[in-house]
Symmetry: C2
Subunit: 220 residues, 2 copies
């Protein structure tokens, strides 16, 4: 066993987490409320926390900057982005288009790709999670559904761009209220429509889904 390895779990801390892993950790920490919007991210602190040198922390912060999670001011370091409600609404306006395009593309390709089984599984998982009351289950199922749709849509640029939309920060700020379950059946319906290859309807359902979240956010 020449190579060093310490951990067992997937997310447990390895001997040397990579910059991307650290970035992910920070996003998770943000959704878990360990970091709050506006908070300064001092490199030295993060070094201690993750047990790596500043170089790697620096790269992780650059990732997060590219993903719009932190802002990077020259000579003044990084801080977690603060999203105004207005910005959140605009972001969801954009998300509406993007998610619509994902579903439309996926529906068009559902036959070609041949792997609608993954989508079926995700739908099943989603409906199952609606039975249990564990929000973590729902969130995971939701993520799987999105992943399946993105995969089927097979538009690399679209997938890349969708990851760049900062939903994390919004969730961290405005709580899971708008994102929580209760939408499970609505999402499942979208999945089924894609499976049926009905691209027009899939797009419209997807847009309506995001639109509803946006309106919910505007009312609060």
């Amino acid at each position: 066993m020449p190579t060093t390895f310490t951990s067992i779990g997937a997310t447990a801390s390895r001997a040397k987490p990579t910059a991307a892993e650290i970035a992910r950790s920070i996003v998770e920490g943000l959704e878990a409320g360990e970091f709050t919007p506006g908070q300064r991210m001092v490199e030295a602190d993060l070094c201690l926390r993750f047990g790596v040198g500043r170089q790697i922390i620096r790269e992780a912060l650059q990732h997060l900057n590219a993903y719009g999670v932190v802002a990077l001011e020259p000579n003044r370091g990084a801080h977690i982005i603060h999203v105004t409600r207005e910005e959140a609404v605009m972001t969801l306006e954009l998300t509406e288009l993007l998610f619509g395009l994902v579903s439309r593309s996926a529906a068009r390709r559902i036959a070609a790709g041949g792997n609608g089984s993954r989508l079926s599984d995700a739908i099943g998982e989603l409906l199952a999670s609606a039975q249990t009351d564990d929000p973590a289950d729902y969130m995971r199922a939701r993520r799987h559904l999105f992943a399946a749709l993105s995969h089927i849509a097979s538009n690399p640029e679209l997938n890349r761009i969708m990851e760049q939309v900062r939903v994390h920060v919004m969730r961290a700020q405005f709580g899971f209220a708008a994102f929580k379950s209760g939408h499970a059946h609505e999402l499942a319906e979208i999945g089924r429509t894609v499976l049926a290859g009905n691209s027009e309807a899939a797009e419209e359902l997807s847009r309506a889904y995001v639109r509803r979240i946006r309106e919910l956010l505007q009312q609060i």
Copy 2:
């Protein structure tokens, strides 16, 4: 004069170009044909070229990676992305939505912002550039128009995302053919429609504009 400064021109090499500046330089170099898709980007070479240490080059490459211009493989360095025609078409499918949203949002806000003058100027510049035959003029005018529209739309997330769409690489690969002038009047028409506050028409015109480019690309 305590601080060091060597250069005079704007794009000329300063004493110490920053990572973002180097990234921009590389994108320009790409559009100018100095780098070709697929080409490896060795850190040491870039160090010599820009006269900085590897740290900065590394950051620049990370920027470019985030912008989808280069791919970064662990332990194997960076290379310029190669975009297939199919990907380019898909990217333009996405761009169609995004540009449409920009124009629609801008048209809605044209009154509120109060600074439609910038847009008028851009339109004028565009029409003027159609008279001359210098493509650089046209490209500059085009950029100004887009900037004005983005500014008026004032959707920060949308603007951020639009910058992430890799048009540079596409232009570098497929040439300026599809992007060259001849479209000046079409773009000016979009600008005028936004100025008139007709959001529906502005969106449709914008989408049609991108659609045409896409179809042009598909035919080649």
